[in-house]
């Protein structure tokens, strides 16, 4: 792995981390507001997190 590759990977991880953090944070907030909707919020959260994860992995592997 070259230096630019590593930097790119780091950038991807930073971006994905921010995104996942926002998703998780908002889901927590939503659950705190409406505990009875926990199941639905969790499902939606996992789906969006999975999509984001797929994007991040795709980018990581393009650079590998």
């Amino acid at each position: 792995m070259t230096i630019p590759n590593l930097v790119g990977a780091g950038l991807i991880v930073i971006g994905a981390g921010i995104g996942l953090g926002k998703i998780g944070g908002s889901a927590m907030e939503g659950i705190a507001r409406q505990p009875e909707a926990t199941g639905k919020i969790q499902t939606a959260m996992i789906i969006i997190a999975a999509l984001l994860e797929g994007l991040a992995f795709g980018a990581l592997f393009l650079g590998k």
């Binding site: 592997f61 393009l62 650079g63 590998k64």
Partner: protein, 166 residues
């Protein structure tokens, strides 16, 4: 990306595809279909049982409502009967009272009548006695007067005193 493509083994891909197809086929035919059918049957069974229980409950409720209605009717009937009886009793008492009153007043009237007639008879008797007495007195007075003046007066006096007593 290159490493990724380099790692891709066509043989493994083909094997996975074939084995997985066979697996899906076998699982669907021999596992998932019977399992799903039994699960659905079971769920339906449970649903039916629940429905039946609900129906039974409803029927029970209906029955209870019927019972309630019957009981109410019976109670109303009893109430009516009791009321009739009370009325009848009152009426009977009323009647009896009226009759007794009438009888009593009739008796009283008779008594008064008899008293009146007795009284009249007594008065008539008294009158005749008074007349007789006065006649007697007059006769005696006349007889006395004829014999003794002083004595006559005294006699009259005493007789009069006697007469006032009556």
């Amino acid at each position: 990306m290159e490493t990724l493509l380099n790692d891709f083994s066509i043989g493994l891909f083909v094997m996975q595809t074939v084995i997985f197809l066979v697996l899906i086929f076998i699982m669907v035919k021999f596992a998932w279909k019977p399992i799903m059918n039994s699960l659905n049957d079971r769920e339906e069974g449970i649903q039916n049982a629940l429905d039946a229980a609900e129906n039974a409950k409803l029927e029970m409720q209906n029955l209870q409502a019927d019972n309630e209605k019957l009981l109410k009717a019976a109670r109303a009937e009893r109430e009516a009967m009791l009321k009739d009886a009370r009325d009848m009793k009152n009426k009977m008492i009323e009647d009896a009272k009226g009759e007794a009153q009438a009888e009593a007043s009739k008796l009283i009237a008779q008594a008064q009548e008899s008293i009146e007639s007795e009284k009249k008879a007594a008065i008539a008797d008294l009158k005749s006695q008074v007349a007789n007495l006065s006649l007697e007195i007059a006769e005696k007075v006349v007889k006395e007067e004829l014999s003794n003046k002083g004595k006559q007066e005294k006699l009259v006096e005493s007789l009069l005193g006697e007469a006032t007593l009556n």
